[in-house]
Symmetry: C2
Subunit: 144 residues, 2 copies
DNA sequence: ATACATGTAATTGATATTGTTACAGATAAA
DNA sequence: TTTATCTGTAACAATATCAATTACATGTAT
């Protein structure tokens, strides 16, 4: 199991909109950099737009950031592209047998443990901004 | 996306072997409590056995714990049932375009961030033992 | 020998992912 | 107003994973 690459591609899109600030960041331009199909990018752009992270308009080429990158965390992107639902990183088997002490309690016992693990992961995502990501790319490129 | 319920079922199996200590914990007995097929349980028993968590023998009914439950963490089960590979909780798109500053750096920039998030989640799993799980079930049952 | 258990492979149905094609609708420019 | 270009979106296919199911080989005890 792996969390969908929509998350990584979403980060890619936002970073590239920023670094291509002067140019026009169309779905085709993004698709070339990501190495995928423009329609895939447009679907993701729709999700990022719905989450208030970018501005896109039908008929008008190019996406723009709707916020400062320092105000967008990886968690925001993760939620925007809908890769993992709340409390559902781990799945728990349904309908265990109620006549068994383990069967009738396992779900309630495990659920908070799984949720805690998921929240710990998400906390890390909350502590990284897209500005951090772009800065790292810039450093690797010796842009600054 | 969700992590396979093999993980939750693996925990269920270990807890039930413990609470059924006096009885014979066969794959059919476990399957009834989990509410699945005995062959599914046997596959999981094979994984738990391979990881050194339980003892099972062909032709001999019932599984036994190979370790104290206090020495088995949720992380041990998680690894045993093979639900998430190292550094692969999040997937990253392959072959982004090398002629783009973002394309040629995104993987190296993102990978350590994703790994850190995964490790934070796994750390929580390391800090819970199967003894904790069984104790919680026992408490809910007023067994002790 | 038999009865019964585990070990394991093959198959199926359901679901998610990613890519692809096609086209409607919006916009700008000629 | 016509044309070109872009976004928005739906439909579809290919692939992968999951979970259940069936079947059967193998091992053990009586």
């Amino acid at each position: 199991m792996s969390i969908s690459s929509r998350f990584a591609v979403g980060i890619h899109i936002l970073a590239l909109i920023k670094l291509n600030n002067e140019g026009v960041t169309s779905s085709e331009f993004l698709a070339t950099s990501v190495n995928t199909n423009p329609a895939v990018i447009r679907k993701l752009m729709g999700m990022l737009k719905k989450a208030g992270l970018i501005e896109v308009h039908p008929g008008i080429a190019g996406a723009k950031l709707a916020k400062e990158l320092s105000c967008i965390t990886l968690f925001d992107v993760y939620k925007a592209v809908n890769v993992v639902q709340e409390k559902e990183l781990f799945s728990i088997h349904e309908s265990p047998h109620p006549d068994c002490p383990v069967g009738r309690n396992i779900q309630n016992t495990i659920e908070p443990l799984f949720t805690a693990a998921q929240l710990a992961m998400e906390k890390v995502l909350r502590n990284v901004t897209l500005e951090d990501v772009v800065r790292d790319i810039a450093t690797k490129e010796n842009i600054c």
